[in-house]
Amino acid sequence: CQEDFVEKVDKNGLNSDSFMRFELQAREAVTSVYDPLVHYGLYSWGFMIFGDAPTDNIENDWGDGNWGPSIVNIHNFNWQGSNTFVVRRWNSCYKGIARANFVLENLGKVEDFDEFSPEQFRGEVLFLRALYYYNLVTAFGDVPIVTSILSPAESNNVSKSSEIEVWNQIEADLVEAASLLPSSYGTDEQGRATRGAAYGMLSRVRLFTGDYAGAESAANSVDGLGYSLVSAEDYVKMFDGRLEFGSESIFEVNLVTEFGNVWNAHNTERSALMHLFPRLTWGNYMHPRRKGSYDILDIFEDGDIRREASILVPYVDQLFSPTLGEMRTFPDVETHGDFRPNIVNDEVYQMRKFISNDDNLWGGGAGFREGVAINIPVVRYAEVILNKAEALVEQNKLPEAEAALNLIRVRAELPAVSGLSQSALRQQIKDDRRIELMFEGHRWTDLKRWGDLSKISDAGLSYGGQEYYPIPSNEGNINPNLMEN
């Protein structure tokens, strides 16, 4: 009786002993593994900050508030372990990994599976765990591999694994995920990881490990799953919210519009890409690169439909204005008097990708509150084709590589290439990959994989030779193991 009196149990929720005993709870636990995807360090806008900001794709010399200086520092290769995006990338990935590990350890304790498939759940979290490790290894290199639930004592004493061990872990998770996942879902659950997503990621991952035959085979597995490139006309719609989960989409982070505070990214499933809005005076980060003698427009061949789909050139490009119901030249200062001065003055380019097709959303008010609900492509069929082309060219299978590349070029309304040497074809694949996947977070990792980081200095950035971000300094303070090389 005495002991009972001082026993109080938290009634506000289930605890670690009682949670995940039923299949609906298992579904909720799996859902929570997806949640970190929309965090700032990942597919809210981290993909672009890490993937494009420190490259020849971006000009970013201004930044204020909480975020701006951190992005400018990444762009300028002033890479500190206290950078908020560095911290967020690390934290969010491990949050996702820990939740995945919880599901994997507890799936067996779920009493009955009736409506749902435990294999599918396992496949989903394995895919996600691999995706989180991919985002860790490409940013940090050697990182601790955690595949079980850690006690506090353990978590503060883990050691780093080598980069190749991390890639092997990713590969193993993706291979198993591919064997477990279905190839598609019903309309209401299209955002879940599929077999195609696992194979698509695998085709990319194997390029990093130099397993070109494996990359080719993974890409071939995707080919058999019914994906196809969208038409040239629909190309831009994949990036402005008009075409989500299209035939080319393999895995995308699904963002939805809703009322609320956009800053609580983890609660709202919107990206922070509203900072790109041309009518929001204070965001103003990350413009397509035009600096000194470097002009990103120069990399596009004439007639490439991807130029207008990726970049808005002031006073050249036209956009449909839902406000007026007609095509208008950008920036349309007659309809909206509040464009950023540097856009009005034609000092900078504006991204076209991830800008809503509705000009009403570009400003402070409505856009600010609703955020950007444009889905973020993580694996797109075009990328898998390019992965395959790269895998083939590295194996010196040139005609097949050309055939793959030409799928991409022809869709972009460019002439097919033929008869190129291995090195010329390799370069063409690189050039088309840069354009095809521009601002989708691939440029930095691609340049590093290719050993082409000198391109960054060539474009006039103050590149200091970095290959990895420092592990967050706060983590090193807790666990000095993480600071060892």
Partner: protein, 1096 residues
């Protein structure tokens, strides 16, 4: 007076004594030791060395006193438990008066104390003669004197003697001031009270009269500088704002507020920066406050006493008559100090320069055209009123007493929109049912409403932050007389017009209702054995209603009306049973208490919100858009057994031992129970035979103690971890969200209380006929198993989505606080001038001796930089960052120095390369200051001259640093908001401020010693002048006492700190790791008050 009830002693206890040839002093000691009677006398009037023999068995006090003082010059009076011994010559003098016909002038009058209570038995002597008399029970006297210019000498034991010139008046009112030094104070201790002379622990009692002189909503505010060893500082100077109270150094890393016990009920207080835990208590209802500073005295409160205990008792009826007291005051508050900001043209020029220097376009075409612009701080501040009204009714007689009080406090804030109002009611009473049975109750009810504008210690602001940051280039109103919007153009961000904010968007004040009630029953099983049982219940309810607005003001838009209602209810019941046994013989005196206590608290929170597209909704209905409901329940319980033994040998050697066992629901399954022991001893050296009786030193006591206490002040279920369901994700293009649930933490079943082991020694002395009182103490407090929120590596999955590190509460770390406390008071009289001065000083030596495996704890992540680090060997919560080393004056200096950032240029701050590696990076950060003071002090002066009284109260803090985050924000070039009034460095005008550059490539805004300043200050808190109407005048208007006063609070602050106020307290959730951080704190008010005290 019309309310008087004739009454005698309200207390009676029979006396059993058998002494042979013993001194009067010893006999008095014995009576005091065996009964609750306490003797008050002046050694000059009582022959204490006279030896006598006395035998009494269950005899009344009056009979014992009669036997003791019969045929001596000493007379006696019994007043409740107090026995007053007086000089007894007058009877014979009056009877000797032979020449009545010479006396021609008849004087009548009354003698009262400062509160208007009549003093029966006061001596009145015509100066230079042996002619005299004594007051009757109502304090009245009449005396025939030589002539109308005679002088009367009025004396009363325990009071200072007063001389009054008759000066032709036939009616005189004489007010005598209490002479506290000659009284042995009764001090409140845990589960009882003790005579000050018998205390062995470190307990300070506070004179509540001193406390209530200043106008303040809460009593903690008035404690500032009053008690040695107790540092009180304001967290928010807003009405009803929060205070931090630190007893003997800086406690652990968590909430270090003391345990408050009000009328025997420990009140659970959630730490809150913006609201005082004592806001439900009207300071005017407080009778006494005791601070239990050491473990020896606080161990009786066991697992909750680590940070000391503050005992507060509310008033009860006394004095044998009915009294009405009325206090009323009206004050006016004004801003004591405001922010020095750029005017509009300076601001516009600065923004232009910062843009141009960064290679961007200047946003303002003609900066000088703006002129002075708008001074937003002036716009949102005001001269504010504060009213304090109190009426109390009290009385007592043989069978009981009562105290009823009604209070109303209404304070507007100097920042428009903030306010605090309280209506309070107290009903206390005690009733004697029979010789053995006593019952009583204490009931207190209050309703308060507070709008705290809050402190923007975190990144985002409040009114003060918003006003100081708002653009001086913008007008308050536009051409139509409407609130001017912030235009959507460079460089402006979407900031709301601050006046619109305070006038239109201020939320309704939450309504807080509090009830605190206790009922007890006391039964004397034997004359020496008393059983007491008490039941208490406290209930608190907060109703918060927020009605959103729909508006469009430039960039600031709200197109939905959000209605929010939140109901928070908390209740605690407490049952305590104690058995108190007192036993003594000639030499030995035992006083033992054992008890049991059980307490359980429940809190429930229910919140609903809904949004509407039109304004005008008052209730949340089911058709609201985005209807949201939330419910939370918390409970905790504490079960305890405790005991205390006091033993005294001949009043010379005193020893006290405490033991308490607590079981708390807050701790993990493996560590529910804790044991908390203490012992202390005292030696009254002046009672030794060898002690010179006629020396300068009147009393001298040496005391010391050791004990262990605990801290359970953490959340309710921190040993376990819950699944949270707020990690949703949508898999569907149509936006349907799936619930996502995860365990967001790690359970810790080993969690237990934090232990404080404390020892100390002290000396109490009285000198110069008790005019000078001195206390000196040394304390040493060691905190072990400190409850630390240990940052966890994110690899475990713990981390905030905002990038903050996850934490887990663990018992890790050790901390010591040691220091010296001195307090002194001196009182004397020169002619009509009575004066007293008091002073205290406390030194603090704070050191973290162990802090877990990493030895470091980082906190206060603000504006992208960690600002605070606690580390082994340092003090708690030291500021952390780079060391500033001046401003680069030219490119040569930049090139010669270690590489800072890519764009570092002349005009940027140079940081020290501490590890000499040629690069300024994270590794060059170090400790850049400490918020822990070297010493704190306070002093007060009271003067009384005839009918006037004058007092000054002051306090100071020395040797602490303040992190001026306000300066950091106001120099931040990367934001377009208004700046502090500084002149940026240029080559032609090389000031000490960084250059203007929008991109801030050097990160001049980073955490550095550039923003850390000496936070020492001395503040005059109160100057008060009072005037008491002569009683002959006040009686004409039908009152027994009437005092008028005027005061000014916070008139002067002496400091070198450059910010608005150096007293910044503790931020956030009262975590000691965020103290001394100034970020746009609520500015302190200077208060001018006029008031009146009336007794009927």
């Amino acid at each position: 007076s019309i309310f008087s009830m004739l009454a005698k002693s309200g207390y009676s206890q029979s006396i059993t004594l058998d002494v042979k040839n013993e001194t009067v002093a010893k006999i008095i000691d014995k009576i005091e030791a065996t009964t609750e009677y306490r003797f008050v006398y002046n050694t000059r009037f009582v022959d204490l060395k006279r030896k006598t023999t006395l035998k009494a068995e269950r005899t009344s006090i009056e009979d014992v006193l009669h036997s003791l003082f019969n045929n001596t010059n000493t007379t006696y009076k019994v007043n409740d438990r107090q026995v007053i011994l007086k000089e007894g010559k007058k009877a014979s003098i009056i009877s000797e008066a032979p020449i009545i016909e010479i006396q021609k002038f008849e004087v009548k009058g009354t003698v009262t104390d400062a509160n208007g209570q009549p003093l029966p038995g006061a001596n009145i002597l015509e100066k230079g003669t042996s002619n005299g008399t004594q007051t009757d029970f109502d304090g009245n006297f009449s005396l025939s004197v030589e002539n109308e210019n005679a002088t009367l000498v009025v004396s009363y034991l325990g009071y200072t003697t007063s001389e009054v010139v008759v000066n032709g008046q036939s009616t005189l009112s004489v007010v005598l001031q209490e002479d506290a030094a000659s009284l042995d104070e009764v001090i409140l201790v845990g589960y009882g009270s003790q005579l000050k002379s018998e205390l062995t622990g470190a307990v300070s009692s506070v004179n509540t009269e001193e406390l209530t002189k200043a106008t303040s909503a809460t009593v903690d505010n008035a404690l500032v500088g009053k008690v040695a060893g107790v540092q009180v500082s304001t967290n928010s100077a807003g009405p009803g704002g929060g205070m931090s109270v630190r007893i003997r150094g800086v406690g652990g890393v968590n909430n270090s507020e003391p345990l408050y016990v009000v009328d025997g009920i420990p009140i659970s207080v959630g730490p809150n920066e913006n609201s005082s835990p004592l806001s439900s208590i009207n300071p005017k209802d407080i009778e006494s406050i005791s601070v239990l500073k050491d473990a020896a005295s606080a161990a009786i409160y066991g697992a909750r006493a680590a940070n000391g205990v503050v005992l507060i008792n509310t008033k009860r009826g006394k004095g044998g008559r009915s009294t009405i007291n009325i206090n009323a005051s009206q004050g006016f508050q004004s801003l004591a100090n405001s922010y020095d900001l750029m005017d509009a043209s300076t601001y516009a020029q600065f923004i232009n320069d910062a843009a141009v220097n960064a290679g961007n376009t200047a946003p303002f075409t003609n900066p000088s055209s703006f002129g002075k612009g708008t001074e937003w701080m002036e716009v949102v501040t005001q001269t504010a009123s504060v009213s304090d009204l109190n009426a109390s009714f009290s009385g007592s007689n043989d069978n009981g007493n009562y105290f009823l009080s009604l209070g109303y406090f209404d304070q507007e804030g100097i920042v428009i929109g903030s306010s605090f109002k309280r209506l309070s009611l107290v009903a206390n009473g005690d009733l004697r049912l029979s010789d053995k049975f006593r019952v009583g109750s204490s009931i207190s009810v209050s309703r308060s409403k507070q709008i705290a504008t809050g402190n923007p210690r975190a990144q985002n602001g409040n009114t003060i932050f918003d006003a100081a940051q708002h653009y001086p280039t913008l007008p308050v109103y536009d051409g139509n007389g409407d609130y001017a919007p912030t235009p959507n153009e460079a460089p402006y961000k979407a900031r709301v017009n601050p006046l619109f904010d305070v006038e239109q968007l201020t939320p309704q004040a939450p309504e807080v209702r509090n009830l605190r009630g206790t009922v007890y029953l006391e039964y004397d099983i034997l004359p020496s054995l008393t059983f007491k049982t008490s039941g208490s219940y406290t209930y608190g309810n907060t109703l918060r209603t927020e009605v959103g607005r729909i508006y469009e003001l430039g960039l600031a838009i709200s197109d939905m009306q959000t209605l929010l209602k939140e109901q928070r209810t908390g209740s605690t019941w407490l049952i305590e049973n104690t058995l108190n046994y007192k036993w003594n013989n000639e030499d030995h005196n035992f006083d033992a208490i054992v008890g049991q206590s059980a307490q359980e608290s429940e809190f429930e929170n229910l919140r609903a919100s809904g949004s509407y597209s039109l304004e005008g909704n008052e209730l949340i209905t089911t058709d609201a858009q985005f209807l949201d409901l939330a419910n939370r329940f918390d409970d905790n319980s504490l079960m305890s057994y405790f005991g205390r033994l006091n033993y005294g040998y001949k009043g010379k050697y005193l020893i006290t031992a405490n033991l308490r066992f607590d079981a708390s629901s807050r701790f993990g399954a493996n560590n529910k129970w804790g044991t908390f022991p203490s012992v202390s001893a005292g030696w009254n050296i002046h009672k030794e035979d060898f002690f010179p009786e006629e020396g300068v030193v009147n009393s001298l006591k040496l005391r010391g103690g050791w004990g262990q206490v605990g801290n359970d002040n953490i959340g309710n279920y921190e040993f376990s971890t819950n699944a949270l369901s707020n990690f949703p994700y949508s898999f569907s293009p149509n936006g349907t969200r799936f619930v996502g649930t995860a365990i967001d933490g790690v359970p810790n079943p080993d969690l237990k209380w934090e232990t404080v082991t404390q020892y100390g020694v002290g000396i109490d002395a009285e000198l110069f006929s008790n005019r000078l009182t001195l206390t000196a103490e040394y304390y040493n407090k060691k905190q072990t198993d400190m409850l630390v929120n240990v940052p966890q590596s994110a690899v475990t999955g713990l981390s905030g989505s905002n990038g903050a590190q996850g934490v887990l509460r663990q018992n890790i770390g050790e901390l010591t606080n040691s220091g010296l406390e001195f307090s002194a008071s001196y009182r004397n009289q020169i002619g009509d001038l009575t004066y007293s001065v008091g002073a205290n000083i406390t030194t603090i030596n704070n050191k973290v001796t162990e802090l877990g495996p990493n030895g470091e704890l980082f906190s206060f992540f603000f504006s992208n930089f960690t600002r605070v680090r606690t580390y082994e060997g340092g003090e708690l919560g030291e500021f952390y960052g780079w060391e500033e080393d001046g401003i680069f004056q030219n490119q040569g200096e930049v090139d010669a120095h270690a590489t800072q950032n890519a764009g570092t240029a002349p005009g940027d701050i140079r940081f020290k390369d501490l590890n000499n590696d040629g690069v300024i990076d994270d590794a060059d950060r170090t400790s850049i200051g400490s918020p822990v003071p070297d010493f704190t002090y306070g002093f007060n002066i009271n003067l009384e001259y005839k009918d006037f009284d004058f007092s000054v109260q002051a306090n100071g803090v020395q040797g602490n640093d303040v992190y001026n985050l306000t300066k950091s924000t106001m120099l931040d070039n990367t934001s377009p908001e208004n700046k502090g009034n500084f002149v940026p460095w240029t080559a032609s005008n090389p000031t000490n401020y960084p250059r203007a550059i929008q991109t801030d490539p050097n990160e001049n805004r980073r955490s550095s010693s550039y923003y850390v300043e000496d936070g020492s200050y001395m503040r005059i808190r109160l100057i008060q002048l009072g005037y008491t109407l002569p009683s002959n005048v006040s009686e004409k208007v039908g009152v027994s006492n009437l005092r008028l006063y005027t005061s000014v609070q916070n008139p002067f602050t002496f400091t070198s700190y450059s910010g608005v106020d150096p007293e910044v307290g503790v931020a956030g959730n009262n975590n000691n790791l965020s103290s001394g951080l100034d970020h746009f704190v609520y500015p302190i008010a200077r208060i001018f008050t006029f008031g009146v005290n009336i007794s009927l």
